[in-house]
Amino acid sequence: MADGPLIVQSDKTLLLEVDHPQADEARHAIAPFAELERAPEHVHSYRLTPLGLWNARAAGLDAEQVLDTLLSYSRFPVPHALLIDIEDTMSRYGRLRLEKDPQHGLVLRTTDYPVLEEVLHARKIAPLLGPRIDGETVVVHSSQRGQLKQLLLKLGWPAEDLAGYVDGTPHPIALTEDGWSLRPYQKLAADSFFSGGSGVVVLPCGAGKTIVGAAAMATSQTTTLILVTNTVSARQWKDELLKRTSLTESDIGEYSGAVKEVRPVTIATYQVLTTRRGGLYPHLELLDKNDWGLIVYDEVHLLPAPIFKMTADLQARRRLGLTATLVREDGREGEVFSLIGPKRYDAPWKDIESQGYIAPADCVEVRVDLPRDERVAYAMAEDGDKYRLCATSDTKSGVVEKLAAAHKGEQLLVIGQYLDQLDDLGERLHAPVIKGDTSVKERQRLFAAFRSGEISTLVVSKVANFSIDLPEASVAIQVSGSFGSRQEEAQRLGRLLRPKADGRAARFYTVVARDTLDQDFAAKRQRFLAEQGYAYRILDAAGLPG
């Protein structure tokens, strides 16, 4: 029996022993068809999903290659049923093809007549289709391309989309690599995206996703619409694009609550697009206003549901999704895949860390004991209030003060969920507090002061969870969060991962009340990071120095 690095499980997971000499080779071999699910320090686990297998087919891999890979790297016999299942699943791809017909426009064509019959008889699909041309071909309403693809995927007959993309209005964009250059993985990510047409690039926070976006734009050379989570992030994108590309101030427009500019490169917020007035989305026409050649979705894991629907109508345009964590708390990863596109690039965080592109991080959970009266109050509280009670315990403030004192002189972020708690901490640490009602201008001023070192401590609410670039922050203290949200945890850690000038490791503290919901949620939140290889140490608050 071969002594391979891979264990193929009958539940469709693959376990990869990373310390095995063949591990790297095996990782590259399985990456095209298996989704990395967990990457703790010794054994990574990948999952085989129909979607992943179909993506592999789309990328030109056939079932035999997949089976060969599994058989050659597997340490134990591979469950036969799994092999048959893979063959079967992969053979379903491409029996239906979306093509451009010179006469009829967009058509759905099949090589397998019964499949088309099955599809035509599906209740939800029938309205998306036009007249039938012959036994194997049916006209598709071009506006329904996205929805049709999504429904076909659900039905288990994914369509091979050969209809191509619209070119979009050309607009010259070039990277200006002076004093910096595209990192190898960024280039690889941009290239794999472009060769795949559309899709999602997954990179850890701080690994330079914006630059991947810029590189994609430079390849596309067309007008581009960039969708981001909020205004601050929009400004950061703009600054970054000005710095990294040949684009000038006049090329880039901002489309947000405050400003409504449409320029060759337009940066819009999700919020403005999903604003509803009188049952209509007045800003939705932005999507059609320009002949965009590329649409970039920043933080695609936060893409709001209405945008899904809009995106369904944009299938003829190239789409790039960027994210650090393709974990959606609403479990709609599948929709991201079918509407934006499959995952085109993914790298374990630890890999990029080991290459020195993101800072190493030391995660510490500090457990505090609630005092007796708080324990009693907690025990008797209504279920709905329990988390708030334990997460905002006064004892945490003392611990935060101690930790802040221990890291005096370092750039420190205190992150929390509850505003009262944050205000209290701001007072104790003599630090400014940034929360939802802080104006954009004020936020930018404070962030700038923090970056320049003028302020060494910032207390922030969840507004700073995403897309805020604070390169020098090296210590973060998390006091409360949105219950068990794993992606929030990852994003918060991400704030610290920009490589430090002096190569220091970042320190990420989570202060947790023992024996409460806080501890349960913390365990759930940490699981994602642990699965990315970020091990938590646990300390008792009583054992802290000082």
């Binding site: 193929v8 009958s10 539940d11 054994v43 340490r75 036969h80 642990a530 970020y534 140490r537 646990i538």
Partner: protein, 822 residues
């Protein structure tokens, strides 16, 4: 001379070795031993014995036998020789037929009368040049044993006329129509003659061609279709009558010309003579002298072994999981027998398998004796044989051995029985006593097919080619094979006898009955157990392979298993560690175990988790006690503990001022009084914290003590001396009489069943009190016949009918004395 007599003489004349071969080919002839040849001949001619013999005939043997039977009828019973047979069997040559005929004679299915009385073959064409050979006649009840449709041909017209009312008249009309087509028929004064004449005409190729030419389009195809299976479904077969005309439907035309017989409203039968004519005036188009060439797909040996080895590992893992202590067993059964759907679903969830796999695992484990039915509570429990089996090699051996002899068809579970009910796992309905034989045949045929397959790749044998081969060997069992073979193949794959559809070396060893060697091959194939795991910071331990059972057992106390496959992931959590603490381990021993078996350093988070959980384990402690003592006086506690009687009461000091005792409050009170104290009984108050009571005066009756036995009679539980005496007398009189009040409903049922069984043994009637569906009590005198599955079969002597009574409706049973065996 009667046929049996003739056979007896023929048998008597056989040599000893011929007789031995007959008896070994048909073992039922001498089981039990027969006294003489007439008896042997008689037994050999019985329908049951013949049917058994027919089951073991190959396709060519059966074809020849059927052809002899049919052709012998043509000759009026004088017998058929090889040449005649060849003519009706697609031109098979006598050298091919002679050995087959000899085999059939050796098995006493055909007889060759010593004096050749060759019947004239009807065509006379093929017989001229061939020398007249031995003539064969079928033995006695062969026609009956072969059934009404030998060789897939319908009954002769002559028979149909006799058995189908009204058909005779139609046949007379048909004869007229046939004549009008210009075909010469003899006189047809009655239906029998018409049948005979029509058969004759159909059998003459020239006349047949005339008939075919006159038939409307579509008739020929219809005939072709019916030529394979003589009875067909047509809409409105029994029609009012045939009206000639160009628009006549083919069915009507055929019916009108006597070429089809209407059986009932929807079925028609193709008469034998017509069937033979359609087959080109033959009984069979050709003799299937050689088995059909199978369509085998090449399977790479690597793929075969991969599939087989992964299947074995998975089966063993699942059986292990099924039988593991703390696993999903015991398994409850339904009252009607078998394991219900809900229970199977529970197991499916526990084992994380496909729903169809659960019944198979249950059947497999039960077949190997690893699961046994506990008759006391009707639940299937691990028998301990699994633990005794020890390693995986032994477990596989037990499973394979049990499977080979399993007289059940696990694949039938989930299908519907003839009465429409779904068959449950481990239910009697899935019982197939012939399954072990079919399994052997499957393995034999697989070996045969594999041997015939050439090329470097292994032979991928699917159910259809295997069934075709088996059906060639035993055509009479075709349906049985079709039903059982797909399931058996799937089961054999699960045990590694097949892999990817090809027979594996393990399977070959099993076929040769070399099970221990096969088990050794399994051991070779299975990866060696590992005794280490990899612990990670996400609080999981991954065993990179099959974890040594001893290590796995201990790890299971610490972590919850996840995932299915060769490697198991164990996840740690405070809840998962608790069982180990309950089992008496502490943080030190747990960490020592983990460090010993972990291939990597333990992450700090796990160490913390173990230590933290262990440190806080037991902050609250729970035990059970019969009574307690609390006081402010430590000295009283010490005095109590010092007394030797305290130990007998199970007194334990929980705290300086608190003592618990196993004994009840009254005993503890008595002891304390003996020691000179004056304890006050305490009742728990609703608030839970009783205020200390002032010591009560020693003479006051303690309310905690149960009130003394009541002297006065009151309430339903009282009983008089006379009643007790009467009870003793009735008990002495024996258990035959189940009197009124016994311990409880369970006892009552058991007694009732016992009485019923006694009555069944003695065949005595009982007075049965039952509750009808309205809940009314009914008393009847009935004769119980059997009790099983929660039902009693009884005979009602008044109405002279048998009926079934549910046990749960039975209220009481009383044997009626003195009428036994009446």
């Amino acid at each position: 001379m009667s046929a049996i007599r003739a056979l007896a003489d023929e048998l008597a004349a056989r040599s000893d070795s011929d007789l031995r071969s007959l008896l070994s080919a048909r073992p039922d002839l001498s089981l039990p031993p027969v006294p003489d040849f007439p008896a042997l001949a008689a037994r050999a001619s019985t329908r049951a014995s013949l049917q058994r013999a027919l089951e073991n005939l190959t396709e060519p043997q059966l074809q020849v036998l059927e052809a002899v039977l049919i052709a012998a009828e043509d000759t009026g019973g004088t017998g058929v020789d090889a040449a005649t047979l060849g003519a009706v069997l697609g031109g098979a040559e006598p050298p091919v037929l002679e050995p087959v005929l000899a085999q059939l004679t050796a098995r006493a299915l055909l007889q060759a009368p010593p004096v050749s009385q060759v019947g004239k073959p009807k065509d006379g064409a093929t017989n001229g040049s061939t020398p007249a050979g031995t003539c064969y006649v079928p033995v006695g009840a062969l026609a009956e044993a072969l059934g009404p449709y030998p060789a897939g041909l319908g009954r002769p017209l002559e028979t149909l006329v006799r058995v189908l009312p009204g058909f005779g008249g139609q046949l007379l009309e048909a004869a007229g129509r046939v004549r009008s087509l210009g075909i010469a028929l003899g006189p047809t004064p009655d239906p029998e003659a018409a049948a005979h004449e029509l058969s004759g005409a159909v059998g003459r190729p020239t006349d047949w061609n005339v008939l075919l030419a006159a038939a409307p389009t579509g008739a020929a195809e219809l005939l072709e279709r019916l030529a394979g299976a003589p009875v067909g479904v047509v809409p409105a077969a029994a029609r009012a009558g045939y009206r000639p005309g160009p628009a006549a439907a083919p069915v009507d035309w055929l019916l009108g010309h006597g070429l089809l017989a209407p059986l009932d409203i929807a079925h028609v039968e193709l008469p034998r003579s017509v069937g033979r004519a359609v087959r080109g005036h033959r009984i069979a188009a050709s003799l299937q002298a050689a088995p059909p060439d199978p369509d085998l797909r090449p399977v790479r040996p690597a793929v075969r072994d991969n599939a087989a080895h992964s299947a074995v590992a998975e089966t063993l893992r699942l059986v292990d999981a099924l039988l593991a202590p703390g696993g999903p067993t015991p398994v409850a059964t339904l009252r009607s027998g078998g394991v219900g759907v809900r229970e199977v679903k529970r197991l499916t969830e526990a084992l994380q398998v496909e729903p169809a796999a659960t019944p198979w695992l249950l059947e497999l484990a039960a077949g190997a004796g690893l699961l046994g039915l506990d008759v006391d509570d009707s639940r299937w429990k691990p028998t301990g044989a699994a633990a005794a089996a020890g390693d995986r090699e032994a477990l596989w051996l037990a499973l394979a051995d049990g499977w080979l002899d399993l007289e059940r068809a696990p694949a039938m579970v989930g299908t519907r029985s003839p009465d429409g009910a779904t068959i449950n796992a481990l239910a009697a309905e899935a019982s197939r006593p012939d399954a072990p034989r079919v399994r052997r045949r499957v393995l034999d045929a697989a070996v045969e097919l594999t041997a015939e397959h050439d090329g470097a790749a292994a032979a991928g044998i699917d159910a259809s080619s295997l069934t075709a081969r088996l059906a060639w060997h035993q055509p009479r069992l075709r349906r049985r094979f079709e039903r059982l073979v797909p399931g058996i193949l799937a089961e054999a794959e699960a045990l590694g006898l097949f892999g990817g559809g090809a027979l594996t070396p393990i399977g070959e060893l099993v076929q040769q009955d070399r099970l221990p060697e096969a088990a050794a091959a399994v051991r070779e194939a299975l990866p060696a157990p590992v005794s280490h795991f990899v612990v990670q910071a996400d609080l999981t331990a991954v065993a990179p392979g099959y974890l040594d059972p001893a290590v796995a057992r201990e790890l299971l106390l610490l972590a919850a298993p996840e995932g299915r496959g060769p490697a198991t992931t164990y996840r740690f959590s405070p809840a998962s560690i608790r069982p180990a603490l309950d089992a008496g381990q502490d943080a030190k021993s747990i960490l020592a175990f983990l460090t010993r078996h972990s291939a990597t350093d333990l992450p700090q988070a796990l160490t913390y988790l173990v230590e933290d959980t262990a440190a806080r384990y037991g902050a609250l402690r729970v035990g059970s006690a019969g009574s307690y003592l609390r006081t402010d006086d430590d000295a009283a506690v010490e005095a109590l503990l010092a007394d030797p009687r305290a130990a007998a009461l199970g007194v334990v000091k929980l705290a300086p001022t608190v003592v618990a005792a196993r004994a009840g409050a009254d005993e503890l009170t008595a002891l304390l009084r003996d020691l000179g104290y004056t304890p006050a009984p305490e009742h728990p108050t609703p608030s839970g914290s009783a205020p200390p009571q002032a010591p009560a005066p020693p003479s006051a009756p303690s309310p905690a003590l149960p009130a003394g036995p009541a002297r006065t009679r009151s309430g339903p539980w009282s009983i008089t001396e006379e009643e007790i005496a009467a009870q003793v007398v009735s008990l002495r009189a024996g258990a035959r009489q189940a009197s009124g009040r016994v311990a409880g409903p369970e006892g009552e049922t058991l007694l009732g069943l016992e009485t019923l069984r006694t009555a069944i043994r003695q065949r005595s009637p009982v007075r049965l009190g039952t509750a009808d569906s309205q809940g009314n009590a009914v008393r009847q005198v009935l004769v119980p016949l059997s009790v099983s599955g929660g039902r009693v079969r009884v005979f009602d002597p008044v109405r002279q009918v048998e009926k079934v009574v549910s046990v749960h409706r039975v209220m009481d049973v009383e044997i009626i004395e003195g009428t036994s065996d009446g």
